[in-house]
């Protein structure tokens, strides 16, 4: 009994002495993503776009799980990010949607670097007409104009990926996800879009003192 108590004390002692690497850090991400906006009814169409976002961590709550040894704990990262995102989706002969969304994301990164993320989106979308647009003037002539619509957008997406910076120390992460967004108004109604995206992030991770 006495021997067991001393052994536990010894383990705790070493844990205190050897600081767990990667437990406390600052983390920011810069992400570029390709978007494929899908219409699943026949004929299936795919409309491409891109988005650019930065991730600023608001909350961080790591969780230490036991590894094979007390000296190699498994760190699970639980984070909430705010992600200012700019992007566009191009629809030939229809519109180009330019959007800005301050996304709110919860990311759960497993100890090996695989992560899952849930995003809630609420933002602004401008849909610019994708063909020459004309308007009849008072004198009856037609004038070419720049025209588009202002929309509110709401949506969400599920993302999975791999963060190379967690284990391999490479400051990159890959992510793949799918989401849905709604824009308003169109004849006083919401219009839905479904999309998939694939992205590459540069991860700025710096250990805290």
């Amino acid at each position: 009994m006495c021997t067991l108590t001393s052994a536990v004390a010894q383990e705790n002692k070493y844990k205190d002495i050897i600081k767990t690497d990667g437990l406390k850090n600052k983390k920011y991400l810069a992400t570029i993503s390709g978007i494929a906006d899908l219409e699943l009814f026949k004929p299936v169409t795919i409309n491409l776009g891109m988005s650019f976002s930065g991730s600023i961590r608001l909350l961080y709550k790591p969780k230490l799980n036991k590894g094979k040894s007390v000296y190699s704990p498994r760190i699970i990262e639980r984070e909430i990010f705010i992600k200012p995102t700019f992007g566009y989706i191009y629809r030939k002969r229809f519109n180009t949607a330019l959007f800005f969304i301050p996304e709110l994301a919860y990311r759960h990164t497993f100890y090996k670097g695989i992560f899952l993320e849930v995003n809630l989106d609420a933002g602004y979308m401008y849909t610019k007409m994708n063909a020459p647009t004309y308007e009849r003037q008072d004198d009856g002539s037609f004038k070419k104009i720049f025209f588009g619509y202002h929309n509110v957008m709401l949506g969400g997406k599920l993302v999975a990926g791999y963060d190379f910076s967690k284990v391999l120390k490479t400051p990159l992460a890959l992510n793949f996800g799918t989401g849905v967004l709604y824009r308003y108004p169109s004849n006083q109604q919401w219009v839905r879009r479904i999309y998939i995206e694939a992205g590459l992030s540069y991860v700025f991770r710096r250990a805290k003192e």
Binding site: M50, F142, L172, L174, N187, Q189, A198
Partner: protein, 359 residues
């Protein structure tokens, strides 16, 4: 150890290069231009802004032609964007320009149309914009309009204004919804006769009895019943009677939001008005048809169940004041509601003869 590090670095580099290439391909594909049409054909796409609405307009056909046919689609709430797939237009486009446009709150038209803007009066103003646009931007001085079904009703309303008639060389009016108020009653009668036939043949007896009971309880066709009514008609070939002759070709269409076209297909019939009341219970232009004096070709399918030819076709022909009416009620005997789909060969011939005679 050193070579292991080098190997890892190379792998990282490969990953980065692959990712950059992936995004570059996505970007380039997203920006690819529309293919140019061949030879003497034009295929240009525009929007015409009227108020806060951007009407999509596609200008196709013979680039050298001074003649344009403006197609006014049906529905209400339909679209002209896939209309070009009908093989009828392939022949017409060889000779003339064809203008395919979507109406306000319909098809793939974008914008936030208010319900109070969904009136035949406003739709007529929109059509006038398209006619002027055709003259000035599509560079066609001799303009014909071709209105089918609801589009025929809208075209008829447009023609009630002499100033509008003066902008046109002629009109092709196909199964026009100019008198929905009485046409709907005739359509219900037509359907009930078909329901009796189905019951007599012992086909889906319960179903057709239910259909009859529905119309006994609700003898007036409203906007809420329109979808179900069309469903019944489809089953007894009241909309399309000659499907074997329909030929459709693949055409490119705008990369639309499909959910928008579905919501517009519901929105337009639910909100469209004439003199402030629903078109389904109020639209009857019979007493005003005498204002129409331009050359006109009237086409009506003999087996039409939605707007039955009996009464409606002859009433239209009798009431317009045009001295140049082309109408032969012995033609289009195989067609139901849309002869230019069902008997497109005959329709092509008749259109060319009519246009050439009045250009």
């Amino acid at each position: 150890m050193c070579s292991e590090e080098q190997k890892n670095k190379n792998m990282q580099l490969n990953r980065i290069i692959s990712s950059i290439l992936f995004f570059a391909v996505l970007f380039i594909a997203g920006c690819s231009p529309d293919p140019k049409p061949n030879g003497d054909q034009v295929d240009n796409y525009y929007f015409v802004k009227v108020g806060n609405v951007a009407l999509p307009v596609r200008v196709c056909g013979n680039i050298n032609s001074d003649i344009a046919i403006v197609f006014v689609h049906g529905g209400p709430g339909g679209s002209a964007q896939a209309e070009r797939g009908n093989v009828y237009w392939k022949e017409i486009e060889k000779y003339y320009k064809v203008i395919y446009y979507d109406q306000r709150g319909s098809g793939v038209t974008q914008g936030n149309t208010k319900p109070e803007e969904m009136s035949i009066e406003q739709f007529s103003e929109d059509l006038d914009n398209i006619v002027d646009f055709t003259k000035q931007v599509a560079k066609a001085n001799k303009i014909f309009i071709h209105g089918a079904s609801w589009g025929g009703g809208l075209a008829t309303y447009y023609l009630l204004d002499t100033a509008h008639q003066n902008k046109l060389k002629g009109a092709i009016i196909e199964s026009p919804a100019y008198d929905i108020k009485n046409g709907a009653l005739l359509s219900i009668q037509w359907l009930l006769q078909k329901a009796d036939s189905m019951i007599a043949l012992g086909k889906n007896i319960d179903y057709w009895n239910n259909c009859k009971e529905r119309y006994t309880a609700n003898p007036i066709l409203t906007k809420d019943d329109f979808k179900q009514h069309q469903l019944y008609l489809t089953q007894v070939f009241g909309l399309v009677a000659n499907p074997a002759n329909i030929q459709v070709q693949t055409v490119s269409v705008p990369k639309i939001e499909v959910s928008l076209s579905y919501s517009n297909a519901e929105f337009a019939p639910a909100t469209l008005t004439y003199e402030g009341q629903s078109i389904f219970t109020n639209l009857d232009l019979t007493s005003k048809l005498n204002k129409i004096a331009l050359p006109l070709m009237l086409v009506w399918g003999d087996k039409d169940g939605l707007l039955p030819k009996n009464n409606l076709a002859q009433k239209f022909a009798d009431n317009i004041s045009s001295t140049d009416l082309t109408y032969d009620d012995t033609k289009y005997l195989l067609s139901a509601h849309l002869p230019h789909f069902e008997e497109w060969q005959q329709f092509q011939i008749d259109t060319k003869i009519f246009v050439e005679a009045h250009k």
